[in-house]
Amino acid sequence: MFEAILLTVITASTPLVLAALGELVTERSGVLNLGVEGMMIMGAACAFVAAQLTGSPYIGILAGILGGGIFSLLFGFLTLTLVANQVATGLALTILGLGLSGQIGEAFVGQPGIKLQPIVFPLLSDIPFFGRVLFRQDLIFYVSIALVVGINWFLFRSRTGLKLRAIGDSHASAHALGINVIRTRYLAVMFGGACAGLAGAQLSLVYTPQWVENMSAGRGWIALALVVFASWRPWRILAGGYLFGAVGIGQLHAQIVAQNLGIVIPSQFLSALPYAATIVVLIIISHNRRTTLINTPASLGKPFVPDR
């Protein structure tokens, strides 16, 4: 029973972790992309359609990544090249993504999808409990864990990551040092889009292998909250993502238990829990303002126009 719940928690948490990691990199470069939900659903639609047409879930994954990445390029062009307001553009991106994905997936509604099969590690997967939980997962799960390690290394150990953080802290100073602010931000935005797209692919190929309109169901927004919750630190994204995933799954079980006991808890109340948790955690971490300020990208959401 516990193992089964844990497996569903992992499946529910992976897309949150992926989308939040991508957004973390975007925000570390100083760009606030509120279009995570839109990029995610585009990834889900592209992945599902490509998998149906080719019969290969791996091509589906690729299509999801490309779908999210290319869609984010639209956001990049509007906010970085045309210097449009990032908040408004991000919201528009979400609305556009929800509509466009519905159009793409229309012909595929109700079709049974192709489920991405787990990759079983021999020997390791024989370890009782942990082996079954951790080493009989699909590719996307392994990628999500690798990304946490990789992004943490990239941001805090590599010189390129240092430049990315520098741009997020003060784009004017970074520009004065000769760092190409706009190009780096484009790459960061596209990485965020690709991650959101991969998260979407996980939804339509692993979580519920079928196409349903609006199937991202607000997960993009949770991912956004998660980035702040994690105070822009990759490991905290992993912890927070699993916490949110567990709360999401837990509320389903709690409802069933509550129903059996005859207690009526409005489901809306339980679905609001992750957001309430974010607020509580934000209040707790904002207590130490020095650490928060050192982690928060100071130029987040501010447009950059080189004065030449």
């Binding site: 520098a166 050192i294 990208p297 030449r308």
Partner: protein
């Protein structure tokens, strides 16, 4: 570190007819400049003369609209700061280009070859900073460092690239006199190594002291090239300003009246991690007195102003008294109603709303304290436009505010004129207490002398004036008494005539002597 030099006659860097247009406005207009190897060359000019624009072009941050840059007699295009560095140009910015959230070593690493490891950078920075007498801890977060320390990072960062030319943009404006002396020693060391220094400043004394040659800019044009040691400060000022600057007059005989501001045991915790906490501040200002508070930027001046003005009321009501009344917990309007006036530091966004007309800005500041004059209709608070317009006109005339149109947007005025208006807005009320923070920061010399004279005149007419300033020349011009703020602590106030620059410098560095000052010490 040795440098390969061409023949001594070939200038290291020459600039021919360099022009930068912003729209139709020429920030730099056909500028010629030669910098010889191994010289300290001053670039003099007032704010807005085009100094910063010129050096930004030399460092590849801005692209010239016309003209040519020659490096060792070969024409070059400096398309980016990276290219400037490859040529051998290092830059220390006026507004630091540092990243607060990163460590010292990380900040330095950003401008170096990515192949060099962070550990090696830390090592080299530490040894280099020792060699030039600029102590630094590579692991410290910039956010936790003082302004002087931040400047050291910039200098060490520039030096690590082994440059032939180092550009320093107003380096001493943030330093104590002692820190500045140490910087000059570093510059002489660089010069002795055959490197050139382009030294940007509007401080005439230090330019005369350390620079071999000077180029003077005004309104984007070169108005003079000279050997500064052969000039007097007055002749240099004339080249900078274009006319003689009115001298500020003050008589020291004015009798002091009753105590108007009394601060005792004022302690305020820091509001943000990067702010300064105020520690046990005490001061008394009498009618007829100008108390000037000196100090290096970021030592609690802003916090002290916030506490005095009531922008952030303090916990202890008794800690601040204005005209005998305890006002610690009273807000800014309550204090204004007692006859106090306040001029905060930041013209745009703090002292004035840039996008609103002057008359609107006047009303915003005085809607409570001059309710009767500017508003009618009782509870409806209808604006009396005729009254605020005529008051605006009165202020502009009194302070000689030059503007385009009858009632332009605050943002359309030059810094000096807007500052005159903001100070005039308070003076117009004849406040019995006035607190001003950095009254002439970034203001041209003409406007600055006008504002200083107005502050002195206000005190002479029987008001108590507190001037918080980083500008020591200004402090000696206006002050009856001088106190120094350092790390949130305020020294006791000394009569201006008893203090020297050197002693103020010691106080700025946080060195307080318990003994009385020798009677022989005189300042100006």
């Amino acid at each position: 570190m040795t440098l390969s030099e061409g023949p001594a006659t070939v200038p290291l860097l020459s600039v021919r007819g360099l022009t930068k247009l912003f729209g139709s406005f020429a920030a730099c207009n056909a500028i010629d400049l030669d910098i010889a190897p191994g010289e300290i060359h001053a670039l003099l000019g007032e704010n807005g003369a085009g100094k910063s624009t010129l050096v930004k072009m030399l460092f590849g941050v801005l692209q010239p609209s016309a003209g040519q840059i020659l490096w060792q007699d070969a024409p070059v295009t400096i398309a980016s700061p990276g290219e400037a560095r490859r040529l051998g140009v290092g830059m220390v910015f006026q507004h630091f280009s540092l990243f607060e959230a990163l460590t010292v070593a990380e900040n330095i690493a950003l401008s170096l070859d990515p192949k060099i490891s962070l550990a090696r950078i830390s090592e080299e920075a530490a040894s280099l900073s020792k060699a030039y007498g600029l102590p630094l801890d590579p692991q410290a977060h910039v956010a936790d460092l003082s302004v002087g320390e931040r400047q050291r990072i910039e200098i060490v960062r520039a030096l690590l690239q082994n440059p032939k030319l180092i550009i320093l943009d107003e380096p001493t404006s943030v330093l104590t006199p002692q820190e500045a002396d140490r910087l000059f020693e570093t510059l002489f060391k660089l010069k002795a190594e055959g490197r050139s220094v382009l030294y940007i400043s509007h401080r005439l004394e230090e330019v005369r002291r350390i620079c071999d040659r000077a180029t003077v800019l005004r309104h984007g044009k070169v108005t003079g090239a000279c050997d500064p040691s052969q000039e007097t400060p007055a002749s240099l000022a004339r080249m900078m300003v274009g006319s003689d600057v009115a001298e500020v007059h003050r008589d020291n005989t004015a009798a002091l009246g009753d105590i108007r501001i009394e601060v005792s045991n004022l302690s305020v915790p820091a509001r943000t991690p990067f702010a300064v906490s105020l520690k046990n501040i005490a001061m008394k200002v009498r009618a007829g007195e100008v108390l000037a508070i000196a100090g290096v930027a970021g030592n609690g001046q802003g916090e002290l102003f916030d506490a005095l003005s009531g922008e952030y009321p303090v916990a202890e009501d008794e800690a601040i008294r204005i005209r005998g009344k305890a006002v610690g917990r009273t807000g800014i309007n309550g204090r204004r109603l007692l006859g106090a006036g306040f001029v905060p530091e930041d013209r745009h966004g703090h002292a004035a709303v840039s996008a609103m007309a002057l008359s609107d800005n006047l009303l915003l500041a005085r809607s409570q304290s001059d309710k009767k004059a500017f508003l009618s209709g009782g509870a409806f608070s209808v604006i009396r436009f005729d009254a605020i317009r005529s008051a605006t006109r009165r202020i502009c005339e009194a302070m000689d505010v030059r503007k385009s149109g009858e009632d332009p947007q605050a943002g359309s005025l030059s810094g000096g004129n807007l500052q005159k208006f903001i100070v005039g807005r308070e003076l117009d009320r004849q406040p019995s207490v006035l607190v001003v923070n950095q009254p002439t920061w970034g203001v041209d010399a003409g406007a600055a002398s006008r504002i200083r004279q107005a502050l002195i005149d206000l005190a002479r007419s029987g008001s108590a004036v507190v001037v918080i300033s980083q500008d020591l020349d200004e402090i000696f011009e206006v002050a009856t008494n001088i106190a120094v703020i350092s790390e949130g602590r305020l020294s006791e106030a000394y009569p201006a005539g008893m203090l020297t620059l050197e002693r103020i410098g010691l106080l700025m560095g946080g060195i307080h002597e318990s003994h009385s000052i020798p009677e022989t010490a005189h300042a100006h």
